[in-house]
């Protein structure tokens, strides 16, 4: 059997087990095991030998250790009430404008996203902080929930971002470069959402009251409260990019700083600490079971030579590179509706990445291509969080709101989705948006 068909069979087995509600990590282990077994002509020894060191070697990977640390940082930020200070500060500055409170909510999501690598945590915490305020100021349920759900995706678009770390480890790309490359696209996302919100507010039937304008002294006070948060973000990003701390160390600094802030400013005590640690445990475990499976699946697929054969085939078929890219992105959009983003990246990047690197886009070199594609993939994959009917952010925010029908939230989020799509097209057409900061 050719490597290509063997690899495809392994993928098909993985996917069909996945459809049957089996843990994604376990399905990948099975797919990988199948590859090893078939490549060794039905002999199990190669597989068993690989399994000997699978658990320890994956769990003790230094680059991956950054994940539990960033998760811990996000948990401290969530349970330490840092989101409230950020939201208040944003509201103090723009709350008096028309639609200002909604803009504040989006800004606060972005700010929180800068210290938290998770979209769901961002939308969950913002549901508690911003949603009641929005409703109290006569934003319709549809607009208020959609704003927070869409804003939640900023948690992951703005670095630190766990999927980007995983992309970096899979492709041996620099985490620092990817984080920096994500900054301008992240800002674009914020602006896009704000513009959409402004338009929606203008079309709303309900009032969308503005806040009273606050004095400069109040503003300064609100700003002072979030200086530590800004500091944490800068230390982490500058520390990594400036090269005086590696990502794992920077994540340690970030986790420690957020922990201290949560205790001093947010009044976090032992129950909050316990919740943060257990929350970190659950999230980390969920990520690493998939990582374990992906490790076996990817080395199994590599053994079958399937990714390389597929790349050769795409190259020799003379397909237009842009067409391949569009096909991949469309596939991500569809998969994103039914699958978790992390699993999607782990499952597909080892297959698509060689293809993208093998094709020519705008004459970019390999490293530029890999960063550009990483950011693009991140953006597309995260859209899955707010695509009806299964976007997780929608569920979280809608449940937190309590009295808004799911369809309302889903309909409200459509304009935000449109801005996401526009941004992705821009990023695909102009790689400079991601790469420009790196060229400085």
């Amino acid at each position: 059997m050719s490597g290509l068909s063997l690899g495809l069979i392994a993928l098909a087995v993985t996917m069909s087990m996945l459809v049957l509600r089996i843990h994604i990590g376990v399905t990948m282990l099975a797919g990988g095991a199948l590859c090893y077994w078939a490549v060794n002509d039905g002999d199990f020894n190669g597989l068993l030998f690989t399994l000997n060191n699978l658990a320890y070697s994956r769990l003790s990977n230094y680059d991956l250790a950054v994940i539990p640390l960033f998760v811990l940082m996000g948990q401290f930020a969530t349970h330490g009430g840092l989101s409230r200070a950020i939201f208040r500060c944003a509201a103090a500055f723009v709350g008096h404008l028309r639609g200002g409170l909604g803009i504040s909510a989006i800004g606060a999501c972005a700010g929180f996203g800068a210290i938290c690598g998770s979209s769901l945590a961002t939308s969950a915490t913002m549901s508690h902080v911003a949603l009641p305020e929005l409703r109290r100021h006569n934003y319709s349920g549809r607009l208020a929930t959609a704003t927070v759900a869409a804003g939640g995706t900023l948690g992951i678009l703005i670095p630190p971002s766990v999927p980007l770390i995983i992309y970096a480890v899979l492709t041996q790309e620099s985490i620092a470069k990817l984080f920096v490359a994500a900054i301008i696209p992240g800002i674009l996302a914020v602006l896009g959402y704000m513009i959409v919100l402004r338009i929606m507010v203008a079309r709303e039937q309900t009032a969308c009251d503005a806040l009273e304008k606050v004095s400069s002294a109040e503003r300064v006070k609100a700003l002072v409260k979030i200086i530590p948060v800004i500091g944490v973000f800068l230390v982490v990003i500058v520390g990594i990019y400036g090269g005086w701390a590696n990502p794992t160390e920077a994540a340690s600094i970030g986790a420690a700083a957020c922990g201290i802030l949560a205790v001093l400013q947010g009044g976090m005590r032992w129950p909050g600490m316990r919740k943060s640690l257990l929350g970190t445990a659950e999230t980390t475990a969920m990520i690493f079971l998939v990582l374990l499976g992906a490790d076996l699946l990817n080395s199994g697929l590599a053994l079958t030579q399937m990714p390389i054969e597929l790349m050769e085939w795409v190259k020799s078929a003379g397909l237009e590179p842009m067409l391949v890219l569009v096909a991949i992105l469309l596939l991500y959009l569809v998969l994103g509706c039914v699958m978790d983003s992390l699993a999607m990246i782990l499952l597909t990047i080892p297959i698509f990445y060689p293809m993208i690197i093998g094709l020519d886009f705008y004459g970019l070199d390999a490293s530029e291509k890999s960063i550009w594609f990483g950011i693009l993939a991140l953006m597309v994959v995260e859209i899955g969080l707010i695509t009806p009917p299964l976007g997780m952010n929608l569920f979280i925010v809608q449940r937190a709101a309590g009295d808004v029908p799911f369809m309302e939230t889903a309909r409200g989020v459509l304009p935000f989705l449109a801005s996401d799509l526009v941004r992705i097209v821009l990023l695909a057409l102009f790689p400079a948006i991601s790469l420009w900061l790196l060229s400085l």
């Binding site: 509600r21 376990v26 919740k275 640690l277 659950e282 980390t284 969920m286 079971l289 039914v338 699993a343």
Partner: protein, 177 residues
């Protein structure tokens, strides 16, 4: 990316003593892992400060991070399984009858149990190997069998937790697992 937020587990009152005990142990493992993680954070900070200010980093800080993270992350796995928050794609079976879903979930946890047992078995073999050949880490010469020995119990506990989920499903028809 999916992440756990709401957290304290559901009503435990109707679980048996054994099941509650398992829950406690899994929680204990997770908390221990969490505390190890906190210790690693501190270790990392001390190392950075030492390196920047006094040009004396902690020797082998990367190794300590690797060893510690492996032990901590392995200890996280069982709780996640017991609380049913490992990632799955449930979108395709939303419309399926509940009975079908329950059978599938039982199967899924069974598979997970099987995978955990195999990993525990193979890791134990690796541990014995490392012990026999006296493999150590590069800088600090930590014998490699020690961290491996510390992750095996977590893998076994993971298997037990999946088994508990299977029995949950068998025992209580009508309750979604």
């Amino acid at each position: 990316m999916k992440e756990s937020i709401s957290f304290e587990s559901a009503d435990l009152a109707d679980h048996g003593l054994l099941r509650r005990g398992l829950e406690r142990i899994a929680e204990l493992f997770a908390m221990t892992g969490g505390l190890i993680l906190l210790a690693l954070v501190n270790m990392s900070l001390v190392s950075i400060i030492g390196r920047k200010l006094f040009a004396t980093p902690i020797r082998g800080d990367m190794e300590l991070m690797e060893v510690g993270a492996a032990i901590a992350i392995a200890a996280f796995l069982p709780l996640c399984e017991l609380r049913g928050s490992h990632l799955k794609a449930d979108a395709f079976t939303l419309a399926a009858p509940e009975a079908v879903r329950r059978v599938l979930d039982g199967l899924a946890h069974g598979f997970c149990c099987f995978a955990a047992l195999i990993l525990a078995w193979r890791t134990t073999l690796q541990l014995l190997d490392n012990h026999e050949y006296g493999d150590v880490t590069t800088l600090l010469s930590i014998p490699l069998w020690i961290p491996l020995m510390l992750i095996v119990p977590s893998l076994v506990l993971l298997a037990l937790c999946s088994l508990a989920r299977v029995t949950d499903i068998i025992r209580k028809p009508g309750v979604e697992a």
